[in-house]
Symmetry: C2
């Protein structure tokens, strides 16, 4: 009994210590986090805050600039912390966003939150929910440094009978402007390693899911060279799925930062910058036309538009009938987007 | 009888003569147009071709550049002519597109084509249709020259009992980067004049519809300062609606060209160019998130993506938390977008 109390106190002071290293105070009061320290919602909120701060610090170090930090509240319940570094030395626009929102959902809205709809029964048709996640999109200046995106999220919905329905989702994916085989292999291997610690089927399954999800249908192209993507993950149990998500979140910095450093001083031409701008246009097309997160955000009352639109590049370009010349590095990139590859 | 034959021959040679002045041969064979010279589909195809060529010639004259002209075919039936002038002296991107497509629709798709759905009965659930229109978006370099958009279209659907169901839609609207009261008054007065020749209620009704339609809900802003917009117009009769649409189409050049000429040599600062780029970002948001024409195009099998995406600006920008300073001309613009005005 005594050792239990000691462990509790240790955990509480650990939470307090960690909070000091975050980009801002967490959305939930530190005291509330301490009181509910063993609940999944607390552990996930700590994880997304840690991921945000680890990624922001790593980017600040390589860029030399500082993130602007905005805390925001949602009047319907919850809020978030948006960190943005705009027009830095390395990054044109880097956004890392945490949100923790709660309230009640209609049965219809609850079904739509899942990628594979499921019937949930609420009390008088209403279901209390909590949704939280960290998401980030980084657009560098240099066309030889790829854009990266990641998102890790957790949902909990309470049914009329008091049972809690929960799932995790997430993914990390890379959008280069030019193919660098070594970068692609490094990125995918790092993800595979994180996956393999948990389930050997995760990497192959979630790699395919990623190629399928980040697909610009009207162009017949994927957005980038993929990575992993998963949703509705609620097996084998909460503990194991959380540990998997934790491994993924911890792999964001080792996935991306070595690639940034490698290309930091690569020279580039005006034509290469132009091609990057055209690809940025496609990025915008995917995000505004297809992305479920953006659609959900734009349709959610009280959502913070600037944090949703943070994922769009600072600049983009649409050229009529742009088609790279045969055999060019631009055509090689397009070929991969039209026919996703196995990198490892 | 003899005079009827003479009139027919006159009309046929008139069609032939007009075709020579178009940007390219029309989608429908000239002979077929001559044979069906009195049908609405022929008269409308001639009107949209004339509108395209009149507008393109007027823009070429002021820009000094030449439109690239692409004829394209849709394997499911029909085709179009896309005219694009990119990176001209005055225009960053100017697109004027004509399309004439036909085939069969499911009852479900037929309902969705109307802005206010209507049940239509097809033979075995299939409905032959023809849809045609001219549409254009012009993005100038100079932030003091506004972007203009117009679209005039005609639909015909044949029901199982052989009855033809038809309607017209269209509109012209202006998206300035800065408010110029005189420009706004000129633009709206010219449209009102065209409307008033047909129905005094048209301008006030269609002005309101325009403000409602070109609304970026998630920003709480209209896309521009409006103009007119209407859909599903099938009253009082085909002849009168066509004459109204003709008046609107003929007013495109007098609406816009005087504004272009007036600001041709206006000087501008880097900050003003930047604000234009931010507004262009909002233009992209509207077109990709809300525009029914774009949604319909992206979802239609065999549609020509480059002609749909032609409406997007050459360049656009998304700045995090961009907010003009109080009392600035940028803030004045935003104020009007948040609270649409009556200009005349």
């Amino acid at each position: 009994m005594a050792s239990r109390v000691v462990r509790d106190t240790e955990k509480e002071s650990e939470i307090l210590e960690k909070c000091k290293s975050f980009m801002s105070a967490p959305v939930t009061d530190v005291q509330a986090l301490q009181q509910r320290k063993d609940e999944m919602s607390t552990r996930m909120e700590m994880l997304i805050m840690e991921t945000q701060s680890a990624f922001c610090r790593a980017l600040e170090e390589v860029d030399g600039g500082k993130f602007r930090v905005d805390q925001w509240r949602r009047k319907e319940g919850g809020g978030g912390i948006s960190c943005v570094l705009q027009d830095g030395k390395v990054f044109e626009k880097a956004g890392v966003n945490v949100s923790v929102v709660y309230g009640t959902l209609s049965e219809d809205a609850a079904r739509q939150m899942r990628s594979r709809g499921k019937e949930l029964k609420g009390k008088d048709g209403k279901l209390p929910f909590i949704a939280m996640g960290v998401s980030s999109v980084i657009h560098p200046h240099n066309p030889h440094i790829p854009t990266v995106h990641f998102n890790y999220r957790y949902f909990e919905i309470e049914q009329a009978d008091g049972s809690k329905y929960w799932w995790f989702g997430g993914g990390t994916d890379l959008t280069p402007v030019y193919i660098d085989e070594d970068d692609a292999v490094h990125f995918h291997s790092t993800l595979k390693e994180a996956c393999d610690k948990h389930q050997v089927q995760y990497y192959p399954d979630f790699k395919k899911w990623c190629d399928r999800y980040f697909y610009i249908r009207h162009r017949g192209e994927t957005r980038g060279i993929g990575g992993i993507f998963f949703d509705d993950l609620d097996k084998p149990n909460k503990e194991e799925v959380f540990n998997f998500v934790k491994s993924c979140a911890e792999t964001v910095v080792p996935c991306y930062l070595p690639i940034v450093r490698k290309h930091l001083n690569d020279s580039f031409s005006a034509d290469q910058k132009n091609w990057q701008q055209v690809r940025r246009g496609r990025y915008v097309e995917f995000n505004l036309v297809y992305d479920r997160g953006v659609k959900f955000g734009l349709a959610t009352p009280g959502s913070r538009i600037e944090s949703i639109m943070m994922s769009l590049p600072l600049t983009a370009r649409w050229e009529y009938m742009h088609e790279p010349s045969k055999g060019s590095p631009e055509a090689e990139m397009l070929e991969v987007l039209r026919n996703p590859k196995e990198w490892i």
